[in-house]
């Protein structure tokens, strides 16, 4: 329950409450956009600075593990959605892409969680985040189009949407700046990009709470199956993430990170790409599942759970 007493998590709960109570609290879209650019860039920057400290060799195996997750999680999700949920193919594929891809904000929260607890984790974690963003989206598109001529908008335009989309572009850009910039000069932007990070995350979570509450309000319309999926799928993905982590030799902290990444569902890159590549999928379904159910679950309960499980797995495994 301690996680609930973190101010950023409390801000999220406040936003949820405001939305559910139909308060007239609203934040300007310009703030939403600004904070999301800021957070992506800052996550990249921090990740880049840490990456510069790590040895190139040690990244390879975890990277391959992340890639394997990025492909297998959406396949499992698709199977569950089609066979158990009996959902339509495009909807299943689009939702699967969301759950295979990742949420940068959830990543930021788990890192803060570990820092707070004093748990160390691998320096190259941000690379795992970047690597996990895209593959699942490709898998989702392939699943949607099986047998069809190709994605509605052409592969080229989808690839551009992905690699030039703000999410990947800013994370990668930030990473590169973090790696390239000399340490002395990084210090000059530290007050904005590092010291304010947690506060900005809290403010963003307030806004996310408002957005999520509107999605949550639609849960009735999407049916009980998707509600269950939105909670059980991340737990399943986290378990897969823990298994892979043990396999590639991550530390307990790193295991929590990879489990949380696997459990998180994308709400920036995947919705944008799916809307264009699989227009026949109903956005209400994937947005409600990803943002209305899984995101709140992960932020409030999931992360502590995955951390507990990761540590347990290491105790048993070690």
């Amino acid at each position: 329950m301690e996680n609930l007493l973190d101010p950023a998590v409390l801000c999220f709960v406040l936003g949820l409450a405001a939305g559910l109570a139909r308060s007239d609290l609203s934040l300007p879209r310009a703030l939403y956009e600004t904070l999301s650019v800021y957070l992506l860039l800052a996550i990249g920057l921090k990740g880049g600075v840490e990456l510069a400290r790590s040895a190139p060799g040690e990244i390879l195996l975890p990277l391959l593990g992340a890639l394997a997750l990025g492909v297998s999680v959406p396949l499992v999700a698709y199977f569950v959605l089609r066979k158990i949920g009996r959902m339509k193919r495009p909807d299943s594929a689009a939702i699967a892409a969301h759950y295979g891809s990742v949420s940068a904000v959830t990543f930021a929260i788990v890192l803060e969680y570990l820092r707070q607890a004093g748990t160390p984790f691998e320096d190259y974690s941000a690379v795992l985040l970047v690597v996990l963003e895209i593959p699942a989206i490709g898998v989702g598109i392939l699943l949607a189009k099986r047998g069809a001529a190709g994605p509605a908008a052409g592969w080229r335009s989808i690839a551009r949407e992905l690699f030039l989309g703000k999410s990947v572009f800013l994370l990668l850009g930030g990473l590169m700046i973090g790696v390239l910039a000399r340490p002395e000069t990084i210090g000059t932007v530290k007050p904005l990009f590092f010291d304010l990070f947690k506060g900005a995350l809290a403010l963003f979570l307030l806004e996310m709470g408002l957005v999520a509450s509107r999605r949550l309000a639609e849960v009735r319309t999407v049916g009980p199956f998707l509600l269950g999926f939105g909670i059980l799928m991340p737990i399943l993905s986290a378990a897969m993430g823990i298994a892979v982590s043990l396999g590639v030799g991550l530390s307990p902290g790193g295991t929590t990170v990879l489990a949380t990444l696997a459990a998180s569902a994308s709400y920036i890159a995947a919705p944008a790409a799916m809307r264009i590549a699989v227009p026949e999928a109903n956005p209400a379904l994937y947005l409600t599942a990803s943002l209305g159910i899984t995101f709140p679950f992960n932020v409030i309960l999931g992360i502590p759970l995955y951390d507990w499980a990761s540590r347990l797995a290491h105790q048993i495994g070690g």
Binding site: S26, L27, R29, Y32, E33, A153, L210, V211, R214, Y267, I268, P271, A272, R275, I276, P279, E280, P283, A284, L287
Partner: protein, 104 residues
């Protein structure tokens, strides 16, 4: 100057297809267009306009009646089935018709 009668084609659509709508307009040879940020409500539910996935745009373009109708049909055909999208036409008078290709 005698005003030239032309058509105004107005399009309200989800932001995800803005770029592609504009490409269609340009391909159809319209002389220009004007865009404003919008939110709203329709068949496909509420679009509150407070984050990327639920904002809309309102695009208007002045052109001759034939272009207006054919572009409108094409947009509805391409994206009507899957995207939040409406289009409508109305009559306008412009003062310098030449600018809008009225005397081409």
């Amino acid at each position: 100057m005698t005003p030239t009668p032309l058509k105004m084609l107005t399009i309200v659509a989800e932001a995800a297809i803005e770029r592609r709508i504009v490409n269609e307009l340009v391909a159809a040879g319209v002389s220009g267009f004007t865009t404003v940020e919008a939110r709203g409500f329709g068949e496909r539910g509420r679009r509150a306009g407070d984050w990327d996935q639920n904002r809309s745009v309102r695009i208007e373009t002045i052109c001759d009646a034939a272009t207006a109708s054919s572009v409108a049909e094409r947009l509805l055909e391409l994206w009507g089935p899957h995207y939040a999208l409406i289009v409508w036409l109305h009559d306008v008078q412009v003062l310098r018709g030449g600018k809008f290709g009225a005397d081409r």
